[in-house]
């Protein structure tokens, strides 16, 4: 009997786990003013959960764009209506949300997501329904490879990996670099691969590659073995929640090698979680509010007026994604999927706040990167690197 109870218990653990992963989200998102015959635009974002600040900033940017467009009279004589859904930073939610937005709410286009894994979940649904999807800041190249209805307004990881490898060589003067990858994230694995290829091609050496899974809390084991190899720098292409903990534990273990990473780092939570341990670390991203450019200055001003926080890259790209979509609708003179798609594909030199957007035949945007450094709990612009 006793062993029976245990086997039943083990079975129930599995059920509980499965149930835990599939909780449906009914969190109603913010929707802007609804009028009869408005153009419905869907947005899905990680408003809560482990990448919450990404989703919130991106959502704020999108919302600001929609509000400004509506204040200017909307598009094609109609107001815009934003339907936002929260995917709770969970895997498996985005597909359901995309289906719901398209079939029940009847949106004509979809904006989202920050995380590549979740954009990848929704993309096949959009492709199947001929609904254009614009990802504001998913950098994994696979996202737009899903089909010709999927676009992005940011650079891709091959580009980012190349620039980071160059940065490690020239600015950090590193010859031996260790990598710590989130094996459960398409973004992290992809970026690690592109960085490794570019860095070793330029004569650098990768000492070792540690792996973890998103949601892990303890990295001291991986860090201890990395420390034993004495790398010149540690590359962590992950998201800010884990990066903060990794920086903290590396600091406690007495690692002197500087940490650097990609655009998954950019969040105020990085500094909250990492504290003094993230001081002096570097990361690459899409946008810096410190740039001296009238377009950027106006956006930063408007954003601060509405949300009383300084916008980051996610906010800028959220804004750009909505602006580009509406611009394409104007150029197409229609909101029909195929026509908007063609207009999006023909985008050339669109003036986004995070740099000019030209959509290439792979439906990606080629744009400059900025490298930021954490100093006194703030992100400061170090350099801007144009695409080769």
């Amino acid at each position: 009997m006793r062993r029976n109870i245990l086997s039943v218990a083990a079975g129930l653990v599995c059920i509980a786990l499965a149930a835990g992963c599939n909780k449906s989200s009914d969190t109603p998102g913010a929707t802007s003013s609804s009028t009869g015959g408005a153009i419905k635009i869907g947005e899905f974002a990680s408003l809560t959960g482990s990448e919450a600040t990404f989703g919130q900033m991106s959502h704020h940017g999108t919302e600001l764009a929609i509000d400004q467009l509506n204040a200017a009279g909307g598009v094609l004589g109609q107001k815009l209506e934003l339907h936002t859904e929260d995917d709770q930073s969970k895997q498996g939610e985005s597909k359901t949300i995309a289906k719901k937005l398209i079939s029940r709410d009847g949106v004509v286009a979809l904006l989202g997501e920050v995380a590549s894994s979740r954009s990848l979940e929704a993309a096949p649904v959009c492709q199947e329904n001929k609904i254009p999807q614009i990802s504001p800041s998913s950098t994994n190249p696979k996202v737009t490879e899903i089909g010709d209805y999927i676009f992005r307004v940011c650079f891709t990881d091959p580009q980012q990996g190349k620039v980071l490898a160059q940065f490690a060589h020239t600015t950090l003067k590193a010859h031996k670099v260790a990598i710590l990858t989130d094996a459960a994230s398409a973004y992290s694995v992809g970026l690690a691969n592109y960085f490794r290829d570019a860095f070793t091609a330029a004569g650098g050496q990768i000492t070792s590659e540690g792996k973890y899974s998103g949601g892990d809390k303890d990295f001291s084991a991986q860090l201890t073995s990395i420390k034993g190899e004495n790398p010149d720098a540690l590359f962590v292409p992950g998201y800010y929640t884990e990066v903060g903990l990794i920086a903290r534990q590396a600091h406690d273990l007495g690692m002197k090698a500087p940490l650097f990473g990609g655009d998954g780092w950019e969040s105020s939570e990085l500094v909250n979680i990492g504290g003094a341990a993230v001081e002096g670390t570097y990361f690459s991203t899409h946008f810096s509010p410190e740039e001296k450019d009238p377009v950027v200055e106006k956006f930063v001003h408007d954003f601060q007026a509405k949300y009383s926080v300084t916008p980051d890259a996610m906010a800028a790209l959220g804004y750009d994604s909505a602006m580009l979509l509406v611009d394409a609708m104007k150029r197409a003179g229609s909101t029909e999927g195929p026509k908007v798609r063609d207009a999006l594909a023909a985008t050339k030199d669109f003036p986004g706040v995070a740099g000019k957007i030209t959509i290439d035949p792979q439906r990606n945007a080629t744009k400059p990167l900025v490298i930021l450094q954490v100093k006194d709990g703030k992100f400061h612009l170090v350099e801007k690197i144009a695409p080769q």
Partner: protein, 297 residues
């Protein structure tokens, strides 16, 4: 060698927390023969109690930190007793499956209420205790938080051993665990003993929650699931129902995990840890320290 010792310290600091959590599973199992799946969520509630109270005591102070731990243990002990009173006691005497499913229900309830009350986004756990890192001449590093985990866990383990072996209530607990019917025949109030067991287990889980969050200061309502699962495995590994076994199982699991993570196979950590469990249970079905009992059918 230094790397090995460093991994040993890393592993022990994870293992001690698993041990604290495993004790709750094993004590309840010893007395009621069921797995209290809500236990891992009491761990989460403990972390959040520490999070909210930590804001009201001076940061980096030993006194303030200990006060938070003690208060949190009391709150969670009360929570454990209430859960038992409301959810499990009405089902006592019924099928063990019903109680098990109720436990999963309570677990989901706590997680979702937690998400509603605390919010779903991860929170940063405040620094309660003075944060220092001690470095030996050979480069071995121990943080003050890790030391605290060792000391607090050791104190709690000895306190628990003393309660169970030396006090009247402890004797009653062992009697109920041995034979509940006979215990009530000799005048033991079973309900009170069971309440006490839940309170004790939940208090340990709460302490574990705070110690865990001090080392990994990012907390969210689902933070209990994985450590809870590991602790359950640790309890089975050590021999469920056996108190020293649970502690041993927890420490062992923490060490195995850390040593696997330090190698190239870090992504297979859970697979290897759980695989090992299957192997151990194949050879010792009652766990490492459990006694195998022949059951009459």
């Amino acid at each position: 060698m230094i790397e090995f010792l460093q991994q040993l310290i890393n592993g022990l600091s994870v293992g001690f927390v698993y041990a604290l959590l495993a004790l709750g599973y094993t004590m309840v199992y010893g007395i009621l023969r069921f797995i209290n799946f809500a236990h891992s969520d009491v761990f989460m509630v403990g972390a959040f109690c520490g999070f909210y109270m930590g804001k009201h005591v001076p940061a980096h102070s030993l006194g303030g930190g200990l006060l938070v731990i003690v208060l949190t243990m009391l709150i969670c002990a009360a929570l454990g007793i209430i859960i038992e009173r409301l959810a499990y006691r009405p089902l006592r005497g019924g099928s063990s499956l019903a109680v098990l499913i109720t436990a999963i229900g309570v677990s989901l309830l706590l997680e979702n209420v937690g998400q509603l009350v605390f919010g779903a986004d991860p929170k940063y756990f405040p620094e309660l205790f003075p944060a220092k890192v001690y470095v030996s001449s050979s480069g071995l590093r121990v943080s003050s938080n890790q030391l605290l985990v060792f000391v607090v866990t050791a104190v709690l383990l000895f306190a628990l051993q003393w309660i169970v072996l030396r006090t009247r209530t402890g004797t009653a607990m062992r009697a109920v665990s041995f034979n509940a019917q006979a215990a009530s025949l000799v005048g033991i109030n079973n309900d009170r003993v069971i309440s006490f067991t839940f309170g004790l287990g939940s208090a340990l889980a709460a302490a574990g929650g705070i110690l865990y969050s001090m080392n990994y200061p990012s907390i969210d309502p689902y933070m209990g699931i994985l450590p809870g699962l590991k602790a359950f495995v640790a309890a089975v590994l050590g021999g469920i129902g056996n108190i020293p076994g649970a502690a041993l199982g927890g420490i062992l699991l923490g060490l195995i995990e850390t040593f696997v993570k330090g190698t190239r196979f870090s992504t297979y950590t859970d697979a290897i840890a759980f695989g090992l469990l299957i192997v151990i249970l194949l050879f010792r079905p009652a766990g490492l320290l459990g006694k195998f009992q022949v059951e009459k059918v």
